[in-house]
Amino acid sequence: MRRIKDVIRDITTPSWLESVPNNYGDAAAGTLKADEWRNLSTIFIPLALISMWGEGTSHPSPQDAVMLRQILDHTMLVVSAISLVCMRTMTQTRATAYIDTMAQYLKDLIILHPETSYRPNHHMSMHLPHFLRLFGPVRSWWCFPFERLIGQIQRLLSNHKIGESL
C-alpha cells in the first residue's frame, strides 16, 4: 500500500491524465471515480507491484518469492486485459488477446485464491469480445454517459418523497 502511494506521489505524468488522490486508501480520500480506478489499475498499481514482486526483487524466503511472483503474474493478466479492452481502436487480434488473457486470469483465480468463487461479472467479462466485434471500441458503447446522467440526477436536491407537493 505504501509503495502504491509512493508511485502516485512521485510519478511524472502529463496534465491530461487524471491522477488519484495522494492519500488513496485512507478513509479521507473518499471513493474513486471510474476513470481514476482505471488509471490506478493500469498505471499506478502495476508499477508498484512489479517494483516489489517482479523479476530481480529479493524476498525473505524462496517460497515467498514464488508465491508473490505468481500473484503478480496473475494480477498482470487482469491489468493487460483492462488495457486491451479499453484501447481506442479495436482489432480482431486485440479482441482475441483480451479473451485469452481474461480466460487465463479466471482459470488461475480459483487456483491461486481457492476461497473465491466466480461472480456474474466474471461471466460477463467473457462476453465482451462479441460486443467488441459487433460495436467496436468500448468507448462508443460503454455506460459512462448514462452513469453521468445518473450522477446528475443523484446530485439534485430532493426530499425523497416522490410525487408529493411541497
Binding site: 481506442r88 446522467l149 436536491l157 410525487g163
Partner: protein, 232 residues
C-alpha cells in the same frame, strides 16, 4: 433559482422530472454527435463555433492555435545548446508550450509531465518511438520544433522486470537524460509517457498511448523475449 429546482418543486407527477432530464440529456448528446459529423451543414458548423465559445472550458487563444501567443513573443537570445540547430541566427522565438492536435506539450521547466514525449526517430513510423524530455520549444520560419533530451538506455546488466508483460507498455531506462539535444518535429510525436523513478539509477517509462501502444514497442519486447527464451 435554477430552472431545474423550479421543476422539482412544481412537479406533481412522479418521474416526470427524471424523464425531462433524460430527454434533454439525450437531445444534447445527439446534437453534439450531429455537430461533430462531417455531413453536418456548414451553417450548423457556424453554430458549433458559437457553442464552443459559450460552453467549452475557457482556454486562452494561444493554447488553442499554438500560434497567437508565439506571434506576440519577442525573440530572445538563443541558448548556446540550441545554436547548432539555428543556422547561425542568434535570436529565436521560444514559447514555453505548444498545442498540437489538441494536446499540450511544454518544456521540462514549465511542466515536467507535459514535456515527456515518445517520438518516432526522424519521423519514421516503422521504428520504435524513443522517450525524451522537451528542453526547448522554438519557432523557425513559421514552424515549431522541439529540442529534446532522450532518456538514456538502462545498463545491460539490469534485468527489466517490465519486459515480461507484453501488454503493459512499460520499459526500464536510465534515470539520466542524454546531454546532447535532438531535433523533433511535432508530427513525429507518438504520445506522452509517464515516468517513475524505479531505483536510484533507473526510471520506468510507461507509454500512455491508448490507440496503437502495441505496434512497435511490443514488437521489440517480443523480440527481446525471444532472445531470452533462446538463451534459456
Amino acid at each position: 433559482m435554477t430552472p431545474v429546482s423550479i421543476c422539482i418543486i412544481s412537479d406533481l407527477i412522479p418521474g416526470e422530472m427524471e424523464s425531462t432530464l433524460l430527454r434533454s440529456f439525450l437531445k444534447a448528446a445527439k446534437l453534439r454527435r450531429w455537430l461533430a459529423k462531417p455531413d453536418c451543414p456548414p451553417v450548423m458548423k457556424e453554430c458549433k463555433v458559437l457553442f464552443d465559445k459559450i460552453y467549452l472550458p475557457k482556454v486562452s487563444d494561444s493554447d488553442i492555435s499554438g500560434t497567437a501567443e508565439e506571434d506576440t513573443i519577442e525573440p530572445v537570445s538563443a541558448p548556446s545548446d540550441l545554436r547548432a540547430f539555428l543556422n547561425g541566427s542568434k535570436q529565436v522565438v521560444m514559447p514555453a508550450r505548444v498545442r498540437h492536435n489538441g494536446i499540450m506539450y511544454s518544456t521540462a521547466k514549465t511542466h515536467q509531465g507535459n514535456s515527456l514525449v515518445q517520438f518516432y526517430p526522424r519521423g519514421d513510423r516503422t521504428l520504435s518511438p524513443i522517450p525524451a524530455s522537451i528542453k526547448h520549444i522554438y519557432r523557425d520560419k513559421k514552424k515549431t520544433y522541439l529540442a529534446v533530451q532522450c532518456q538514456l538506455p538502462a545498463d545491460n546488466t539490469v534485468v527489466d522486470p517490465f519486459a515480461l508483460y507484453p501488454y503493459f507498455p512499460a520499459k526500464l531506462y536510465s534515470s539520466q537524460l542524454s546531454p546532447t539535444l535532438e531535433l523533433v518535429q511535432l508530427d513525429w510525436i507518438f504520445s506522452h509517457y509517464a515516468r517513475w523513478n524505479f531505483s536510484r539509477d533507473h526510471s520506468v517509462v510507461l507509454s500512455l498511448n491508448r490507440v496503437c501502444v502495441f505496434a512497435n514497442i511490443f514488437l521489440q519486447k517480443s523480440l527481446n523475449l525471444e532472445c531470452l527464451n533462446t538463451q534459456a
